[in-house]
């Protein structure tokens, strides 16, 4: 049923979920690891994640980057539950780079794959419980009673028999002298007081008062600012640099060639930008000088004519298609996409002979730290990387080659002063590391009853993992898992199934973009399945249901979304509904979109009813916010965004021509959460995949026009309507 490559990653995650078993392991910092602020004497620091001051303050050292997904609240809630403190008093401090903070499965410090709650729950619960047990032991020793006769509550240890109580702050110094317990017992879910409640996000006040500090907000004494002239075509090389014009501008300090281009270093950003404009660079544009999106599509189409590397196969799809009652064929295409986080990329580095400080909003600390060690020649312990708040990530700040950190380190090393490297919005839009474009050729066969008996899906797409440190783990037998996830493991019960893959030529840097492969496979699979339902003359919701008998969690969200949306009930004139369901990152999401289409083909999404099953959950309000967020992010891609190439150059520049969703286009979103005791699933990404197909299916229901290419611009809607 599922492809081997997809299974391997799933199994890996499942294994992680059952790790731990009450043993407190891997929670300790190696000696000499620097925290951003050194704890004062007497502070109780029972493990790498928790510090309790003599004043009763509780600090949580957070190893996951906060980029909007709410992790600076969800993880402290897990600690607070076992530690028995009010989560509102917890101060969050970003973790330094150290093995104790590594991803529990991936062996490096990284935030991604919607894994944070899934992988951290167990060990943070243990960390909180261990701290609580030590505080209990300290109080019991003070009173000369048994720890078992004491209990912890809201920052106090209480001895009920004698009504004595001691605050955590008063116990900190004594608790700090105790050995951590070898084993702890975690609360049963029925005893939860914090987990499962709508604890307000801890980072909200700072983000409303303008005091939250992002990477771009870092300023150091004597700091210079740099921008980089990067190649106009991916893979181009500078053959001649004339810097005289730039250096004449007052305030320009240096022009420094670095790995990614030519850095212009100045007193201020506006000056650096003037300097960059005054540079004269000759480029050898290299093999992609003629890259053109239309031609690339023809190239992908030609590749799709031949069989690819097999991602998943069962039965005999080809033979079954020959005898099918009805046969459907379709091609679905999706463009490259930029992540376009609101905070442009940036990094501050201060390289000195004896050490290097880095301030950066990153999702991948270990690689960035190691890259800085390599550039500076310093030992890894001499690199002090501080993770700032991320003004959006969406995957763009998890870069395997650490390019935006390397830039700042290289420039600071060259000029011997602290340097902030800033990307402009145009640098970001032109800068690559896109969601790859994909070409999808599908064929399906129906039997007399309209049931699909054969399904073939051929994908042409660049590999994200190829050439990265993750290639060995992610590319198997010529198939990049992230190019076929959500397609090769489609849950629909089709007896003869074949999914294969062509790795498209490289050159354009590509990267994980919120929901990764699912960002396009869900659109393709859920739209084509809708085509099958209509060809069979059946209701798209019921048709899906009938093919998901063995998938109760898919069915669960499908049924909930359909019921809450009033599927089948009359709508105002001109409105229609579309439905889609998709599993990603261990969670199941169904969405029903209510849509109308204007005279000029413009799509208006009025309402989205979203049902999510993410297993055991931490904070329902954050889950609702992430569903709204995923829907908005997915709608930008569904309706507006595309990166295209002409003469090797990206045709878009800024938010004028790389369009994203605006407030007036935001539908009313209603989120319904399935109550579940299953293992926790991810929540940052799973809201994205179903929205594009839900909208496309609603457009078909309204107009009879099947949109098979994203974005669904008014022009494409009109063309599809003419085709009928």
């Amino acid at each position: 049923m599922k492809s081997k490559t997809v299974m391997s990653r799933r199994d890996f995650l499942k294994t992680g979920a059952v790790l731990g078993g009450g043993l407190v392991l891997g929670l300790y910092l190696p000696h000499g690891t620097a925290l951003a602020t050194e704890p004062p004497d007497g502070t109780f620091a029972p493990n790498a994640f928790i510090r309790i001051g003599t004043d009763g303050s509780v600090t949580f050292i957070d190893n996951k980057s906060e980029m909007g997904q709410g992790i600076y609240t969800a993880l402290p809630m897990i600690v607070a539950e076992e530690l028995e403190v009010d989560p509102a008093i917890i101060r969050v401090e970003p973790a330094p780079v150290a093995p104790a903070y590594n991803h529990a499965l991936w062996g490096i410090q990284v935030t991604g794959g919607s894994t944070s709650v899934r992988t951290e729950w167990q060990r943070l619960a243990e960390a909180g419980a261990a701290a609580r047990e030590m505080l209990l032991a300290a109080a019991a020793a003070e009173w000369g009673v048994k720890p078992a006769d004491c209990r912890a509550e809201n920052g106090w240890v209480i001895h009920p028999a004698t009504s004595r109580r001691l605050a955590y702050g008063a116990l900190a110094t004594a608790a700090a002298r105790l050995m951590p317990p070898k084993q702890v017992t975690l609360k049963p879910p029925a005893a939860y007081k914090v987990i499962g409640t709508r604890v307000p996000r801890l980072d909200t006040p700072a983000k409303v008062h303008g005091t939250a500090l992002f990477g771009l907000d870092v300023t150091l004494p004597g700091m210079l600012t740099a921008v980089v002239a990067r190649p106009p075509v991916f893979g181009a090389r500078a053959t001649r640099i004339r810097e005289d014009g730039a250096l004449k501008i007052p305030g320009i300090q240096r022009v420094v060639p670095i790995d990614t281009g030519v850095a212009v270093v100045a007193d201020t950003l506006p000056t650096a930008l003037k300097g960059r404009a005054a540079l004269e660079i000759q480029w050898d544009e290299g093999p992609l000088a003629q890259l053109d999106s239309d031609r690339q599509r023809q190239q992908y189409a030609a590749m799709a004519k031949k069989p690819g590397a097999v991602a998943a196969s069962r039965g005999d799809a080809d033979a079954t298609l020959e005898k099918a009652e009805k046969r459907l064929e379709a091609v679905y295409t999706l463009p490259y996409l930029a992540h376009a986080p609101m905070e442009p990329l940036n990094c501050v580095a201060s390289v000195r002979p004896d050490g290097c400080d880095i301030w950066v909003g990153t999702q991948m600390q270990t690689g960035d730290r190691d890259a800085a060690a390599k550039i500076t020649g310093l030992a890894k312990e001499k690199i002090n990387l501080r993770t700032m708040l991320l003004g959006g990530g969406f995957g763009r700040r998890a870069v395997p080659d650490s390019h935006f950190t390397r830039e700042a380190v290289q420039v600071s090393k060259a000029v011997g002063r602290p340097v902030k490297v800033v990307w402009t919005r145009e640098d970001d839009i032109h800068g690559g590391w896109y969601r790859p474009a994909s070409y999808n050729a599908l064929v399906a066969g129906l039997d007399k009853a309209g049931r699909p008996i054969a399904w073939k899906h051929r994908i042409v797409c660049q590999s994200i993992a190829l050439g990265s440190p993750f290639e060995a783990a992610m590319v198997k037998n010529g198939v990049d898992d992230t190019s076929v996830e959500g397609a090769a493991d489609s849950p629909y019960e089709v007896p003869n199934f074949h999914c294969d893959y062509h790795m498209a030529p490289t050159g354009v840097p590509v990267l994980w973009w919120r929901s990764v492969g699912h960002s396009f496979t869900a659109f393709v699979v859920e739209s084509f399945l809708d085509e099958l339902a209509h060809a069979a003359g059946q209701d798209p919701y019921q048709y899906r249901r009938g093919l998901l008998a063995g998938h109760p969690r898919h069915r669960g969200v499908l049924d909930l979304a359909a019921a809450k949306a009033g599927w089948g009930a009359p709508l105002p004139p001109g409105r229609s509904r579309g439905i889609a369901v998709h599993e990603s990152f261990g969670s199941f999401v169904a969405q029903v979109a209510e849509v109308s289409v204007g005279n000029r083909g413009e799509i208006r999404v009025h309402r989205v009813v979203c049902a999510v099953d993410c297993g055991r959950l931490v904070n329902p309000e954050i889950i609702a916010a992430q569903m709204e967020s995923g829907i908005a992010f997915g709608l930008s891609a569904a309706l507006h965004s595309a990166i295209t190439f002409k003469n090797g150059r990206v045709e878009q520049h800024n938010f004028n021509d790389y369009q994203v969703l605006r407030l007036r286009e935001m539908p009313v979103v209603e989120t319904h959460i399935v109550s579940s005791g299953e293992a926790p699933g991810g929540i940052g990404e799973p809201g994205v995949p179903p929205i594009a197909p839900a909208v496309a299916n609603a457009v078909f229901a309204a107009t009879g026009a099947r949109l098979r290419e994203l974005p669904m611009t008014p022009e494409r809607v009109q063309e599809a309507t003419k085709r009928g």
Binding site: G68, F214, L390, N656, L663, M666
Partner: protein, 153 residues
Amino acid sequence: MKKITFMVNGTSHAFTGDPEMPLLWYLRDELQLTGTKFGCGQGLCGACTVHLDGEAVRSCITPMKLVAGKKVVTIEGLGASGDHPLQKAWRELEVPQCGYCQSGQLMQAAALLRDTPRPSDREIDEAMAGNLCRCGTYQRIRQGIKRAAGVKS
């Protein structure tokens, strides 16, 4: 060089540098008022929105010469201690996610409510059309404006 004088959050300031320099960089780099954000540099995203004599402007494309004699208010000056009705509503509804665009959203919304204390959905749509949010907090922004205005959602 000619001296430009103006007020920022109630304090008077003087500037003698390049009159073409955008206000954004003066606020961020010289006054360390980093609540005002750089997002696009072209007035296309609204992250840098501040008030200039009460009007919402994009500070990334407002040259210093246009600030002469005017009153600038940034997010740091919106409410004395985060007590503007919009900030209160933003906290109650937990509007921010990554938070990067929110200073601009709040300043734009504050200018809207000053001119239109009880805005309709259409007026909110129009006023907020130039303030982008990639986290998709728009639904809560709309609710936040209505709550602050005392308009039913």
